[in-house]
Amino acid sequence: MQVAEVAQLTDTADGRAILEVAGQPVFELNRVAASIWNKLAARLSIQEIIAQITVEFGVPEERVAKDVARFIEALKERLLIYDDN
């Protein structure tokens, strides 16, 4: 699974994470979503992402798994993540 090359996560001066797509700021991500995005961009597997987020934010793994799945689904709907094949 890989993220779209046209999308880039940037930090604003006031600390917000903005997903720029095709050179335009399009989505604002919360801290968890920004962290998942960075891990997807680093080509981590979904299991690795869930494990790391669980530790990073101290949230039960079950909830993290749901959040990660929901976020990936949202990215797919917006054509911002593709299957490798």
Binding site: V6, A7, V21, A22, P25, L79, Y82
Partner: protein, 555 residues
């Protein structure tokens, strides 16, 4: 559901001046205040703002709107169908006089049951008369509204329309209803210690009486403040005391220097503070700390008198010229004083005369209009010497504004008028009476000869090798998206896949398939989407052999 479509959003002019020195224009202040008031007091279910983005919303909050107000703004793509059903009631609003833009939009949206509402502010220009003439041809109807802020201003608009009607053939007339609604103002909380703070800041004694002029320092669009200084010097010459503050935007004509020199020449320099370009916080301090408000407007650019209404909302007694909108608000001797205004003997020789640099004859008229200096001086003196009179007139002024010009009251009035207009528009639509543009030229007719040719409805559509590459990297399709608050390019991907799966479909068939798959898309939208795919070389009307081979080998 009741929906308000707000044509244009702009920032807070006071903040913009602080940021980049832009001139504060009354019409721009109104645009900003209207947006704030509609979102605060409006009772509609949705407020659509074309093209507004999350970033744009942040700017609006930075400019002073509350987060809750901004949340009520819903983005809609420019010119795209509104996300509403046929039974929803839609009103299209512009803060200016651009009813023609909204008439075009209404036509495009096929919402003939949606009334249009606009405002006219400065009327002193041939451009306004020409705009009204143009609006006779754009498909306005009697359900549409042109809101005027003063009786005198509305009378001028009616005269323009009479003049225009004489030039038009029978059957063509200006159709929009003209209705008088004053501009709105916020009712402020007056700070009791501001009186001392302002005097401390100016090194004045606490007992000193202050008269305030607040407005643009511009002879060409507001008033010549020289005669006010003469009136002050006469008052001082009679042994009375008053301190005059002249404050306001001075980015246009740099009046401050001239006024300071004149005050010095008249011997009243110590009793005058010229305060160019005050910050928004200073404006509040000035209104709270002053005792009297004065505005001797002499210019036909002044239609309503927003600063006079603001001053009255702060409970200040006002001394103003007997002029246009001022006389709608000020009852002489009850909530302020009106000073007679006299046109010169040659006014009948002057004509509306815009030029690129100035309004030549309108400026000449303002320069030669008298605001009676003797009476101005006497009224200021009377108020300066009588604190009880100031309190009585000031309280009456505040009551008048609260009842007639507070934003809560004004927004309620707008909504009443829009409800009437919706009834008229819906009745006309139900009876098949829809106004349409009299002057409507197709772009193909006017510009069809610019291009080599035109793609036909029967042209075949094939995905190209480039198109297949983009389908594997569909994020690229964001580059094709139009300016939109939610620029998801899924529609491009869906159409591209349809063409890949069914090579040789005609333009008509692709459009039909697209419309079948997407209930919210319009025919124009479908054609536009396909044209964008052609434009980027992702679709071609010729079979791409390389792509075809790639396709067959992958199968």
């Amino acid at each position: 559901m009741r929906v308000l479509y707000i044509n244009q959003l702009s920032g807070n002019p006071e903040r913009l001046q602080g940021r980049d020195g832009r001139t504060i224009m009354g019409a721009k202040m109104f645009e900003w205040n209207l947006l704030s008031a509609l979102l605060e007091y409006g009772t509609y279910d949705a407020y659509f703002a074309p093209g507004v983005t999350d970033h744009g919303k942040d700017d609006l909050v930075e400019d002073g709107l509350t987060v809750d107000s901004v949340k009520r703004l819903a983005p809609v793509p420019l010119g795209s169908p509104l996300p509403v059903s046929d039974s929803d009631q839609v009103v299209l609003v512009t803060a200016g006089r651009q009813l023609d833009f909204l008439a075009n939009l209404r036509q495009k949206l096929h919402r003939h049951d949606a009334p249009i509402s606009g405002f006219v502010h400065s009327i002193n220009s041939a451009r306004v008369a020409l705009a009204l003439l143009q609006q006779c041809f754009v498909g306005l109807s009697e359900s549409d509204l042109l809101l005027c802020s003063s009786r005198a201003g509305m009378k001028t608009i009616d005269m323009y329309i009479d003049e225009i009607s004489r030039l038009l053939p029978p059957g063509i007339h200006y159709p929009a209803r003209r209705v008088l609604v004053p501009l709105g103002v916020n009712i402020p909380a007056v700070e009791q210690d501001a009186r001392n703070t302002l005097r401390e800041r100016l090194n004045l004694e606490v007992r000193e009486t202050i008269a305030l002029y607040f407005g643009r320092l511009s002879q060409t669009s507001k008033c010549d403040l020289g005669p006010l200084l003469v009136a002050l010097s006469q008052l001082l010459g009679r042994g009375n005391n008053l301190h005059l503050i002249v404050a306001g935007d001075d980015t246009q004509t740099k009046e401050a220097q001239r006024l300071q020199a004149l005050a010095k020449e008249l011997g009243c320099r110590k009793n005058v503070t010229i305060w160019p370009n005050p910050a928004a916080g200073d404006k509040h301090l000035l209104y709270c700390g002053a005792d009297i408000f004065v505005s001797p407007s002499d210019n036909i650019q002044e239609t309503f008198g927003l600063t006079v209404a603001e001053a009255m909302a702060y409970g200040l007694p006002v001394v103003v010229s007997d002029w246009n909108g001022y006389r709608d608000m000020v009852r002489d001797g009850e909530n302020g004083f009106l000073v007679p205004s006299i046109f010169s003997s040659y006014v009948d020789n002057l004509r509306l005369c815009d030029s690129t640099t100035s309004m030549l004859e309108e400026d000449s008229l303002a320069q030669s209009t008298t605001i009676d200096v003797g009476i101005l001086s006497e009224r200021l003196e009377k108020l300066s010497m009588d604190p009880a009179l100031r309190i009585r007139l000031g309280q009456a002024a505040k009551r008048y504004i609260e009842s007639n010009c507070s934003w809560r009251v004004v927004v309620r009035r707008y909504e009443e008028l829009w409800a009437e207009s919706l009834r008229v528009a819906q009745a006309a639509y139900a009876n098949g009476k829809t106004s349409s543009q009299l002057l409507s030229s197709s772009l193909e007719k006017c510009f069809g000869h610019y291009a080599s040719g035109k793609r036909g409805q029967e042209s075949e559509c094939f995905i190209t090798a480039e198109g297949r590459k983009w389908l594997k990297r569909p994020g690229r399709l964001y580059f094709l998206s139009q300016l939109s608050a939610i620029p998801c390019p899924c529609k491009f991907a869906d159409m591209l896949r349809e063409i890949a799966d069914h090579p040789g479909l005609s333009v008509t068939e692709v459009v039909k398939a697209f419309l079948n798959a997407s209930c919210s898309a319009s025919m124009d939208n479908a054609h536009w989407t396909l044209a964008r795919l052609f434009k980027y070389g992702l679709v071609s009307d010729k079979r791409d052999n390389l792509a075809a081979r790639a396709s067959s080998s992958s199968k």
